[in-house]
Amino acid sequence: MSENGLHRERPDLDQATERKIRTTAWFATGVMLSWNLGKRVAFALFPSLCAQQSEKQVAASNPSQLANSDRPSSSRASDLNLTLAHETHLLRRRRWGTFLVGCSFAASIAGFLLFFTAYWTGGSNQMLGGGLALFLSGWAAAFIFWAHLLTAHKEAVEPREDMQPPARDREEFEQAFCDGSRELQRRGLLKLITATGLGFVALTVVSLFRSLGFNPNNALYTTVWKRGQRLMTEDGKTIRADTLEPGSTVIVFPEESLGSEKAQTVLVRVDPSQLQLPDSRHDWAPQGNLAYSRVCTHAGCAVGLYLRTAHMLMCPCHQSTFDVLRGAQPTGGPAARPLPQLPLYVDSDGNLRAAGGFSTPPGPGFWGMPS
């Protein structure tokens, strides 16, 4: 299949090469930029250097002056010599320009052919894009050479329109506007219906927002966790109080909505003697099983890492850490509020169940959030 050829390259491109290409590109850009900048600063600091530079610049940007700079510096040069030098220069310029434009366009044609064959024969992405790049850059170069070498460049100077407008214009506008509005009868009524109509438009828009479901109601406060829900892994296995070894974790969901992101909870088992929960939560962690919301209170990432020896849950997004033993109080990083805890109990079969909802609304904060 021709299609198969197209996509094998990227995944296989090994990371080191990848990085090398990227580094080289950044490096080259950096060198170029810093060279340019350094030159500018140097010239600005030492204007004596600047004299040569600016001459060159003027010459480059202005071919007619370039011609002049070819002029023998001594005043003995006759007019004839001068014209001759100028003519030769123009001729050379035209030949050189034609040559460069031709070369660029030849490269462009080659690039296009590469792209075209690669596309129709199922060539690699590198051939496709490389062809396209060569085609376009060759064409671009042709245009740019044309502009610089095959165009008689004259610096144009145009007067600007004065930005301080004559007062008369404004007066005439005001006059015309007032004349027009004088033709309107019952202007008060016109204003009234315009304003009211616009008000209705605003109300219509807000009403349509309702269709978009923009009223959060209770959605930010609640999850499906409620008393009696069994804790289950994503594939529906129940968890017993002794399923976990101390020091290990598992991701659990309420039995009614497995895989729900909002209700996702991390179950950690620790040695009960180490617990330092507040008194009000003394029976929330039967046999050292602690359950915390897995949605970071900072910015909603999944708190996915458990540092076993330190008893910390850590969020990979901004590295907030939460102390599992002390009710997931934040101990480092930008998070300022603890992870909500889920009270647990063990039912008569030995399975872990929720004894209620989360201690606080899970997830990132908002201004109305009870805390």
Partner: protein, 452 residues
């Protein structure tokens, strides 16, 4: 041929006179005027590649099982959106090149806008009469940042999934109306099935339409007011110096467009970007350490990491942690930027219109301020990847972060002072080397008198 087409058109539109005046328009030749142009062309490339991609993208979060030709993910559950991205990348001829070109063009778009903004700032091109265009440009930057974020978020891969959740929490932290705004934009507490279609619609209709409109306004104003000129011989506020639209500027500009396109094509085919198949589909229980946003959001990410953990309340209301670094800080930055032309008037006490630029060393305070802000943003940008750096350097993260906090204050101070000193030196040396020319006073009133 051209003559007969022109006759046909002119006898219907009477546009010949107008077209004639257009061709005479003068554009300055300095390279720094190309930055904005690069941004414009990047936008054109974005529209072209984006239209192609939109025909393949399926903005739905319906659960599907992958059966395409990328072997490692065959049989994996994923959203329909993510699957369509894989399909475009692996099973559509040239699909991956186009997708990578789109992403690169977006990065270049933002980069060119940022560079253009710096050029305008450091040469004081925002002064009267161009304040309005400065503000339009800033709005374009804001829209471009937002649309870039939306663009990579709808792929629904593991990396953008984390970014999406952070964007969601920042919007949620907006004072008072946060929850309503968030539900409007995301369709509920994520993940809900409404999110991707909504973000997709915003990404391909709402924001591009706004951007295109504002680009039109931006260009119209540039056309009306004409470009500025760098100072130099024969330059003053009453003339514009450069090359005419036809032919020299047209050729150069076409060349630039093709060149930008070529660079994007080369990057898109040789330099991998956003390899979503490596990250895998978004899953609530998967994590991706060392995740980083696209570069233009790096400063906000850095601010979110460096900002200390504070639990604050406003009366009985909680102020979410991300409010300060994620919402207030960028908001203040942009408000100051919007107001800068007017702040500058107070600093320089110069209320006149200007068409000749002010070089960085002629405004040491502004330059120092700009450099300091840049240094601050750079520290934040580095902080956005502090976990990666800490691992690479073998230093503890907490220690790194503390250092970066100090640096966030020290670096701007230092840079500002150094920039000020350099500007002053340059100014002094220049005024010694080039004896002060009698300034060409541009008295508006005189001109007005002349014109009447």
């Amino acid at each position: 041929m051209i003559a007969s087409i022109a006759r046909w058109l002119d006898s219907r539109t009477r546009a010949a006179k107008f077209a004639r005046s257009i061709m005479n328009h003068v554009f300055p030749d300095h390279w720094s005027f190309m930055l904005g142009e690069i941004a414009l062309y990047a936008f054109v490339i974005l529209v072209i590649t984006g239209t192609f991609m939109a025909l393949f993208f399926d903005g739905s979060s319906a659960d599907v099982v992958y059966h395409g030709s990328y072997a490692p993910l065959v049989g994996v559950h994923m959203s329909s959106a993510y699957q369509s991205v894989l399909h475009l990348s692996f099973d559509v001829p040239a699909g991956l090149v186009i997708r990578q070109m789109h992403h690169w063009a977006a990065d270049i778009f933002l980069g060119a806008i940022a560079a253009h903004l710096l050029r305008i700032y450091f040469t004081a091109a925002y002064r009267k009469p161009r304040e309005l265009n400065w503000m339009i440009g800033l709005t374009l930057l804001l829209l471009a940042i937002a649309n870039g974020f939306l663009g990579y978020s709808i792929c629904d891969d593991l990396l953008s999934g984390a970014g999406l959740r952070i964007g969601y929490s920042i919007l949620l932290s907006v004072p008072v109306i946060g929850p309503w705004l968030t539900f409007l934009a995301f369709g509920g507490t994520i993940p809900v099935s409404a999110t991707i279609p909504r973000l997709f619609a915003m990404h391909i209709f709402l924001f591009p339409a706004l951007i295109a409109t504002l680009i039109g306004a931006h260009l119209a104003l540039i056309w009306r007011q004409m470009h500025t000129n760098y100072p130099g011989k024969g330059r003053n506020d009453r003339v514009i110096v450069g090359s005419r639209l036809w032919p020299s500027y047209t050729l150069k500009s076409i060349g630039l467009f093709l060149f930008v396109f070529a660079v994007v094509a080369a990057l898109g085919s040789f330099v991998q970007i956003d390899p979503v198949w490596i990250y895998g589909p978004f899953k609530a229980d998967a994590i991706l350490p060392g995740a980083q946003p696209d570069w233009y959001l790096g400063w906000i990410e850095g601010a979110m990491r460096l900002f200390p953990s504070v639990n604050t309340h406003f009366g009985k209301w909680l102020i979410p942690e991300v409010f300060f670094p994620g919402f207030l800080f960028p908001a203040v930055v942009f408000i100051l930027l919007y107001a800068f032309p007017f702040i500058d008037k107070l600093i320089s006490l110069d209320f006149r219109a200007h068409n000749v630029l002010r070089m960085p060393w002629e405004q040491p305070f502004n330059t120092a301020l700009g450099c300091a802000v840049l240094a601050f943003l750079s520290v934040l940008f580095v902080a956005g990847g502090d976990d990666v750096i800490a691992v690479a350097a073998g230093a503890p993260l907490a220690w790194m972060r503390e250092l970066l906090r100090y640096l966030a204050f020290a670096a701007p101070l230092l840079t500002g002072v150094v920039a000020y000193a350099i500007c002053e030196t340059i100014r002094r040396r220049r005024s010694r080397a080039i004896p002060a020319q009698p300034a060409e006073p541009f008295e508006r009133s005189e001109v007005n008198v002349e014109m009447r």
